[in-house]
Symmetry: C2
Subunit: 332 residues, 2 copies
């Protein structure tokens, strides 16, 4: 096995977020379950956009946010995902490249627009996502660059891709390539409703060789169809080598080799917007993991990156995470 | 004279800001004078974009920011400015309309893209703007809706329009319509370098009937070609009915009827980004002025709105300014 060119290579939806504030009544009127991600079609996204307040456009996408976070810590990363040759596609490409992430998937012209997610942030800082997948659904196995996958310590996959039949093929191909090359496959379950839609396939994938599983409480309990977090955590620890379970304000739990590591949250003055909290936790953890930190330190780096991201609007860091980690006394 | 339909109607460049962080060396390398606005062509904007860090897209435009601010205080406003029928044009239209501003200028297809400004924010919070005017230069007198101008208490014009020969015609037409209808014409000088480029025409316009002149220190001293702020202020007070002069951290000075009102700044915990400070000061002042507040209260509302805008990234308010003003004990 040759040395890895990348700490983390990710496959995910390439999305530009359109972020705006709203109140709970607006979510209720539009039947958007608070805190969730739902898929909307071209017409619905247009209607919702016309009714929402002023927006701010920021590049997003769950796995894309994670590799940008790893890059901000100083890790070498790559991203595979589909954009169109339109303005949002150019914005996405600029932002992820400017963050230092290798992104070489070619744009597709004339089919569908670049994916966008209308993210509504309520006064409590919670985010509710309404995603129009657009050209993201066009991602298929043709886009999976074997050299990228085989050259990464960790291949990171976002569960949202399971909502797209073609992308699932890309996903499976990446897993096969990674396993053959002796690389670690990491999976994030992404969303409780998403898990609900694809439970059997997620379980098959996890038990067939996912090395690191990321999930929050609602995702892991949905996966194992239980109301008990403890039971879900036990089963996750049995099904995967490393289970990394986030619990919002309660911190996170890392389960490995029969041991449990409880990780506290990093305090924040005010939760402005929770968008990207899980993505950036994964970024900190994966940076620590691929840099040889112990699991508790990797978890603390996850908490640190999550704290940075929820203290401002949007899911891309506004602070250099390596400098932040150094200033907080984490050793590099 | 019939009652006004709008408190403020503005004519300005319709711009989407692409905001990113950089250090002083980056500005020096790109010969961008810190704190200024400079015009760049299509090629230069592309080069600079490819070299700058990740961005955040937020609607902007000086006069547009001002009417959005007035609307956030509760005033009825309208905006006249040119966008293309592209993604940035749709973003600009959505954001200003969702903020409650009437915006009916038709988009232009197939000529030039919607204007954008690459705004580089340095660690001290100062912003340096690199504006590609695109379709904004297409604004001409055909776009000036007489009903809007004649129906506004105050017609507000941004000095940046003087950089465009065609827009100048629209500008002059608006002034003529406003004066004929007995409305107040307000002008903001926009930028010291801009004043330098068009000093004679600015002076002609001001002395021929501008009722309210907004300027900061560098703009007013550039206008009167003096290094003395006091001298420039005296001359401004002589040339216009109401001179509203902002002085950054030193507060502002309102000169009218031989009286001077000194207005303190509103304290902020941390200056994140000064973009829009002047625009939002004008918003607060104009809302107060058109609501019948005394000049000092109008100035305080300006300071309040400026403080809100410099405490976050971007030149559009993230807080309802009417609620903010009520919470601070300003009477409505």
């Amino acid at each position: 096995m040759t040395a890895a060119r990348y700490s983390v290579a990710a496959i995910g939806n390439a999305i530009v977020d359109i972020m705006g504030y709203c109140d709970d009544d607006f979510l209720a009127k539009h039947c958007a379950p608070k805190g969730s991600m739902r898929l909307v079609d071209a017409e619905a996204v247009q209607t919702l956009y016309s009714e929402m307040g002023p927006g701010i456009e920021i590049s997003g996408g769950s796995a894309a946010n994670t590799v940008v976070g790893v890059a901000s810590f100083g890790g070498k990363t790559a991203f595979i995902g589909k954009v169109a040759g339109d303005e949002f596609g150019r914005i996405f490409r600029h932002d992820i490249s400017a963050a230092g992430v290798t992104f070489e998937t070619a744009p597709v012209n004339g089919k569908a627009p670049t994916s966008r997610s209308l993210i509504l942030v309520t006064p409590d800082g919670e985010r509710t996502m309404n995603t129009f997948l657009g050209i993201s659904t066009d991602l298929d196995h043709g886009e999976v660059d074997a050299a990228v996958i085989e050259g990464a310590d960790v291949v990171y996959l976002e569960g949202y891709l399971f909502d797209q039949p073609q992308a699932k093929a890309a996903f499976r191909q990446a897993v096969a390539l990674a396993k053959k090359a002796g690389r670690t496959v990491a999976l994030t379950l992404s969303d409780g409703f998403c898990v609900d839609r694809h439970r059997t396939e997620f379980l098959e994938l996890i038990t067939s060789g996912v090395g690191i599983l990321f999930a929050n409480e609602s995702e892991i309990t949905s996966l194992y169809e239980t109301t008990s977090f403890d039971e879900a955590a036990r089963r996750a620890a049995r099904d995967t080598r490393l289970a990394v379970l986030t619990r919002s304000a309660k911190g996170s739990l890392i389960l490995s080799d029969g041991k449990a590591h409880e990780i506290p949250v990093e305090p924040v003055a005010k939760v402005v917007d929770t968008t990207g909290a899980g993505d950036l936790y994964a970024a900190g953890f994966l940076y620590g993991f691929t840099s040889g930190c112990d699991l508790s330190t990797a978890g603390r780096l996850g908490s640190l990156a999550a704290a940075e991201i929820i203290s401002h609007l949007g899911a891309r860091p506004q602070t250099n995470l390596a400098e932040l980690a150094r200033s907080r006394g984490f050793i590099f």
